[in-house]
Symmetry: C2
């Protein structure tokens, strides 16, 4: 493997000039540049990435913290991150935290040791030991930490939940149950706020007891639905905070013998690929999953380069997708 020294000899310039030609071409005359490039060509020189990383204290890679990569929504976001990262010259290190704080910290520390230059956090924690001290370039995506000034990209969850609830109300539903995500998640709070807003706007009393909590898994949707079906009077609609739980709820409804949407309307959130092919197809909120990834990566890129962010908190658009899992209240 040719080194920078081989190139410099062949080109008849110093190693410094070769280095400059590559890193700061503007500081080198056109003529020298040409000589150097010719020598690079001839020697088939490829800069030693490891040496460069070592010398510059940068690795050109970023780590993405994700609660669970097997979640179909997150995996699409990551696809977006990866796509954009490659365009910008970065590698993506996978940090599947499994919701464990310990793993989160481990991965975060890779920035301290310069193994990564920045972090994209898809969960709503501050992934630093000292919560008050942000020690690395970071962008928060999808589910965002409250009460911090981390750059973030998320959905307008409040409006989305409001629109979805409006939709149910317009179908005549008044007694609406909610299957929520974990209480500490910020998107959970936002979506609940939006739901309440719509209810109050319509003059319908919102009752906290109608809210059950799941963990975004299908199984938790099944269990939450079970509780809801035992409520009295029985709700005529369920607003679920993701598609998996909605699918679980539909499953349970059908098991019991309820028809969806005739006996009960059920809505999802995310528009995962299965939503369209459920029985009945799921009314849900479509999120631009990949765009979360590309946007977050682009923002992180600027943060790492210490450029100013024009917009520190981005909101991505959603779309209400009306399918057959919702219908008129009886």
């Amino acid at each position: 493997m040719a080194t920078i020294r081989d190139v410099s000899k062949l080109a008849g310039v110093s190693v410094a000039t070769v280095s400059r030609t590559l890193s700061h071409p503007d500081k080198v005359t056109e003529k020298t540049r040409k000589k150097v490039h010719a020598a690079i060509e001839e020697t088939d020189y490829k800069p030693d990435v490891l040496a460069r990383n070592f010398r510059t204290r940068r690795s050109s890679s970023i780590v993405v913290l994700v609660p669970d990569i097997a979640n179909p929504f997150f995996s699409r976001v990551i696809r977006g991150i990866e796509k954009q990262a490659q365009i910008l010259g970065y590698s993506v290190l996978l940090g599947d935290t499994q919701g464990m704080r310990e793993r989160e910290i481990t991965y975060t520390k890779m920035v301290n040791t310069s193994q990564a230059d920045g972090i994209i956090q898809l969960d709503s924690h501050i992934p630093f030991e000292d919560q008050n001290k942000i020690t690395a370039p970071i962008v928060n995506a999808c589910d965002c930490v409250r009460g911090t000034d981390l750059p973030s990209v998320q959905l307008d969850n409040i409006s989305a939940a409001e629109d979805m609830t409006d939709h149910l109300i317009s179908l005549g539903h008044k007694n609406i149950a909610v299957i929520s995500g974990p209480e500490e998640h910020s998107i959970t709070n936002d979506r609940l706020s939006g739901h309440i807003k719509a209810m109050e706007k319509a003059g319908i009393h919102f009752d906290t007891s109608k809210v059950t909590y799941g963990d975004y898994s299908i199984q938790s949707g099944v269990e939450a639905a079970e509780k809801i079906f035992n409520m009295f009077p029985r709700p005529s609609a369920i607003f679920c905070m993701n598609d998996e739980m909605a699918i679980g709820a539909i499953h349970r409804a059908k098991q019991i013998g309820f028809s969806v949407p005739d006996d009960i309307s059920i809505t999802g959130f995310d528009n995962i690929s299965f939503a369209e092919f459920c029985d009945p197809p799921l009314t849900t909120i479509s999120q631009p999953a990949e765009e979360f990834g590309t946007t977050a990566m682009t923002m992180l890129y600027k943060v790492m380069r210490e450029e100013e962010l024009k917009q520190k908190y981005k909101l991505l658009p959603f779309e209400l997708i009306t399918r057959q899992s919702t219908g008129p209240a009886k």
Copy 2:
């Protein structure tokens, strides 16, 4: 940040000894080791990963080549890889290839530049420019390259497809259509072989025209099913090579007004999380997805350390999961 030099001074030994204590403890006396560790403790010394990588020409990270990370089966495999990698002290670089050979090569080259120490390939290509020259530690998982001697871990696809077909035959089905994956995939060929084997064993004529090809997406299942429903005589069962296509086929069947399994039995492959919650729940083959990941990573670890592999070609066990998408032939 303390360096190895600080530690050596405090411990009253040379930097060489500190380095040895960390990398080859057996070459240092107990007493010195203690001194060094005490000094490390006191200075809170953390070895500089970048310097070490540079010096040793190793990065302690591996790259995983995956056709599409948003595929629910692959994302579970990757979860397994990541888990095991962390245990073994490796980081995982994500190489989502989107089926593009160009991206595959790009990622593979990271091994040449020592940015990665090895590769786990989840697709059935040889990811090197010169197909005949394997230039890096690599393990092939899930869908494996034919006619090479790459270490691999995969399912006994032949037996699995055979068992599934046996199941259909035992229900009285004779006219069985197949929704296959892309023709060039090795798992496609294996599963088809198993299917044919079962058919012949039962004395049923296998007809190539009953095989349609999809690309593993739900939509392609819908389209393939459409073709199958137009066959004459109409098959009474469809053997699909993954769950997504089966879900698509069920969707199309119900659209047309066919009952599953009364009018037609449909089977999947993979047992993704939605399989259990389909309507009807899907008869399928369960694969130990995470175990693919952990096994592949463990094998790669040995390859990278140039240890002998006891078993170069591993087969993981499957399980036939009988649910309600299959029933007796009319």
